[in-house]
């Protein structure tokens, strides 16, 4: 039963990673490691930036 629960949890984590839920955590980890002297972007601003970047630099989707 534990194995099943663990499997479900990791499947959920995988789906979230593919969908991009963890983008802010990833950014935060990168920022703390590489630019510890500057404060990171707040979460809300990060997500806005992320969407607006797509406006400036559109990505293709395939047929």
């Amino acid at each position: 039963m534990n194995a099943l629960a663990a499997g479900l949890v990791s499947a959920g984590r995988y789906i979230k990673a593919v969908m991009g839920d963890n983008a802010y955590e990833v950014y935060l980890a990168h920022h703390t490691a590489n630019h510890p002297d500057t404060p990171p972007m707040p979460e809300r601003m990060f997500w806005r930036e992320r969407d607006d970047e797509q406006d400036r630099n559109p990505q293709g989707r395939c047929c």
Partner: protein, 766 residues
């Protein structure tokens, strides 16, 4: 671990310049040492041998059942076994060979995701997550539509091309483009073309990409229009995706930013509600009156929508619908695979149909099996569009060079499997029904009687279509009529509904499954239309920027609007042309879609050819030359047929002159065109289609010509310029395949044991 552990004695897979890469002595190895990896790969335990023998045998039996035995009926499970076993063998042996011979990845080199890491688009990401991203970006409606139309030839030609084509051509292209772009800082296909082929070749490649993008968007939109025409249920539920996406966008922007999966699940539930609600709305008088739209109205709707969607901010409409589309993609594909394996439908379609050796082809798509089968099925076997994803987006996430085989080659195998499942779904429905749905209204008159008369007059063995079957199927799927629902999507939806109802819900659920399938195809396509328009606008802005620099300014809204309007007008014109075409639209236009997509593949492969030649690996040049030659022969022949064939159904110009002549002679109707206005429309349409054919083939011949010229020059010089980014030593570690090997686990343990401050924080994105 000494620093030598990361260095190698220059095994066969090592790059000559790689020996200079010095690894940080304070870190555990960043790569599995070559000799250890080699030993592991070459170590054949009895169990491993037994597994591979079993896979080979099962695949062999499946192919015998499909290609040799060809019984009265064939069980769908054999398609699954033939495909999966062949993929496994190709992945393990052929892609490994390509890795040793051509790509020669070196995990001691940092990837752009590592050396350009910015925590946003350049992020070293877990390989399985990148695989998911990449697959979601490459797979769309294409592999669901092409195989359906190609089913007119029988089941075998399509099956062989999808499976053999992917392992020798499609997956090779995706893998090589992904790897080469990764070695070049994630540069786009256009930039690589410029670097590798010079100005003429590069410019031709960029123009070809732009034109191809327009035609692909137009024909995808045409598929949606055909699926929604005269279908109030479909129109209602697909329109509902717009408010659902807007709600999701607002939710993510203002209510709970970043909760992507959460809102996708909410969106999915709303979507299901929209499908169920669509049935109820379509059953009411006002619903039927409001949402029964003819194809031209829907086409205009999509054009207006396409323009608005492309100028609205991404967060409001495109991004949320993209999340929904990704969510649906993974879900429905898994569901379809499970259903086919559980239900195992029997297939009664012959291996080769009456149309397989007819030079005029069949009534669904005109033209002989060679070359038209190979352009009808583009996505799933070889798709040039993938080269745009494999260069640019995906390379910025790849953690280690060696992972590109799993992501690039493996991702494409997955898409091929989707195409096989679509083929099985289309094959599982009654053959008479298949033709009644896919022959254009120009021949069936759009009526049950007309369809029955026309299909039965084709004289197909074992086909005896009854009007009852057509009306009953239409009633089961909740549509007024299913006659001449061309474009592939409705056929796939009927096939899927047919399979799914025996899995869940029975006949009563068929209408739900049908509209569920229409919904996800429309969702994929509308996302591709939006994104395609934006990318094409961006490319146009960039090109115009060479003349008027202001166009490059991203904050100049008017410029963006002008370019968007131009691109929408371009695909919109082709869409309207297809919808109003007296010859039936999709069957004349679909070959152009395939040709365009394959020409893009030829361009991508030509760039790969030049790169491989510049690296000096002439002995293995055939790995690229083979699919390139095939794609070139297929697309150039198909284009030439389309330009020069004297058969009006096949050649655009033959059709053009036949109708012009009829007009000159003062005829009031000709062929399937009932009026002079319709005849004039045919003349206009065939002129545009013929001109596009000439343009495509000319651009491609230029690109391939330049690539071949550069390859010959490189051969004479024993190699060429290295266009790779400079080598940066890697400071992170990651496994390379689906399963982590013993050696990888051992090294990973050393990394995990490192104190956190000495381990460079690697955003695992997991």
């Amino acid at each position: 671990m000494s620093k030598d552990a990361g260095r190698t004695e220059g095994g066969p897979a090592a790059d000559p310049e790689a020996s200079v890469i010095e690894q940080d002595p304070n870190l555990p190895p960043v790569a599995v040492p070559d000799d250890e990896r080699e030993a592991e790969e070459r170590h054949w335990t009895p169990l491993k041998i037994a597994i591979w023998v079993a896979i080979a045998l099962l695949g062999g039996v499946a192919w015998v059942m499909l290609a040799v035995v060809r019984g009265e009926t064939v069980n769908a499970i054999w398609f699954v076994f033939a495909a999966v076993c062949t993929y496994l063998i190709a992945y393990r042996f052929y892609s490994k060979f390509i890795e040793r011979a051509i790509t020669r990845p070196d995990d001691r080199r940092a990837t752009p995701a590592e050396y350009k890491a910015n925590g946003k688009d350049y992020v070293p990401t877990d390989r399985r997550v990148v695989f998911g991203h990449h697959f979601a970006a490459i797979a769309g409606a294409g592999p669901l539509v092409g195989p359906v139309l190609a089913a007119q030839m029988g089941y075998l030609p399509g099956t062989i091309w999808i499976i053999v084509g992917v392992i020798l051509a499609g997956a090779v292209q995706d893998y090589l483009v992904l790897f080469f772009s990764t070695r070049r800082g994630g540069r786009s296909l256009g930039q690589m073309a410029r670097d590798q082929l010079g100005r003429v070749g590069g410019t031709a490649a960029i123009i070809a990409t732009l034109v191809i993008m327009v035609i692909i968007v137009a024909i995808l939109a045409l598929v949606v229009v055909n699926a929604l025409g005269e279908s109030p249920w479909g129109v209602f539920s697909v329109s509902m995706t717009i408010p659902i996406a807007l709600f999701m966008g607002v939710y993510l922007r203002y209510l709970r930013p970043g909760k992507i999966t959460e809102i996708s699940i909410i969106g999915f539930v709303l979507l299901i509600a929209a499908i169920v609600g669509g049935g109820a709305v379509a059953a009411t008088d006002w619903g039927a009156a409001l949402f029964t739209l003819d194809r031209t109205t829907i086409a205009w709707g999509i054009i207006v929508y396409g323009f608005i969607a492309a100028i609205l901010p991404v967060w409001l409409l495109l991004a949320p619908r993209d999340y929904l589309s990704t969510f649906m993609k993974i879900g429905t594909i898994v569901m379809l695979a499970v259903a086919i394996i559980v239900v195992r439908p029997e297939i009664t379609v012959p291996a080769f149909s009456e149309f397989a050796d007819d030079p005029a082809g069949g009534p669904v798509v005109p033209g002989a099996l060679f070359p038209f089968l190979f352009v009808t099925i583009a996505c799933g076997a070889l798709s040039g569009f993938h080269a745009l994803i494999a260069s640019g987006t995906t390379p910025k996430l790849v953690e280690k060079e060696r992972q590109t085989r799993f992501i690039g080659y493996g991702g494409m195998l997955m898409e091929s499997f989707v195409a096989i499942m679509a083929l099985v779904a289309a094959l599982s429905i009654d053959r008479g029904l298949y033709f009644a749905m896919n022959i254009s209204a120009a021949n069936t008159g759009g009526t049950v009687e007309g369809a029955v008369a026309f299909v039965n007059s084709l004289g197909l063995t074992g086909v005896n279509l009854t009007p009852e079957l057509l009306t009953e199927t239409a009633r089961n799927v909740g549509e007024e009529s299913i006659v001449s629902r061309t474009g592939g999507a409705p056929t796939l939806a009927v096939g899927l509904a047919h399979i799914m109802q025996s899995f869940i819900g029975g006949v009563g659920m068929m209408s739900f499954w049908y509209h569920f399938a229409i919904m996800f195809e429309a969702l994929f396509i509308l996302t591709a239309v939006d994104a395609g328009t934006r990318v094409a606008r961006f490319m146009l802005q960039d090109t115009l920027g060479n003349i008027v620099p202001k166009f490059r300014d991203a904050s100049w809204t008017l410029g963006a609007w002008i370019c968007t309007a131009i691109m929408v007008a371009a695909w919109g014109a082709i869409l309207i042309m297809g919808v109003t075409d007296p010859l039936g639209g999709i069957n004349t236009l679909f070959p152009l879609f395939g040709i365009a997509n394959q020409l893009l593949a030829a361009i991508a492969l030509a760039i790969c050819l030049a790169i491989v030649a510049d690296r000096g690996y002439f002995k293995y040049l055939w790995v690229v030359a083979l699919p390139l030659a095939f794609a070139t022969v297929v697309t150039v022949t198909a284009s030439l047929y389309k330009i020069f064939s004297p058969v009006p159904a096949v050649g655009y110009w033959a059709q053009n002159s036949a109708f012009r002549q009829a007009l000159d002679q003062g005829e009031e109707s000709f062929g399937t065109a009932p009026t002079r206005a319709a005849m004039e429309a045919v003349v206009r349409n065939t002129f545009v289609q013929g001109t596009l054919s000439i343009l495509f083939v000319t651009l491609t011949v230029i690109v391939i010509g330049v690539a071949v010229f550069r390859t010959i020059r490189a051969f004479q010089n024993g190699g060429g310029v290295n266009t790779e980014d400079p080598v940066t030593p890697s400071r992170i570690f990651g496994g390379s395949g689906i399963v982590t090997t013993k050696a990888e686990k051992r090294i990973q343990k050393q990394w995990d044991a490192l104190p956190a401050d000495r381990r460079r924080v690697k955003a695992r994105h997991e």
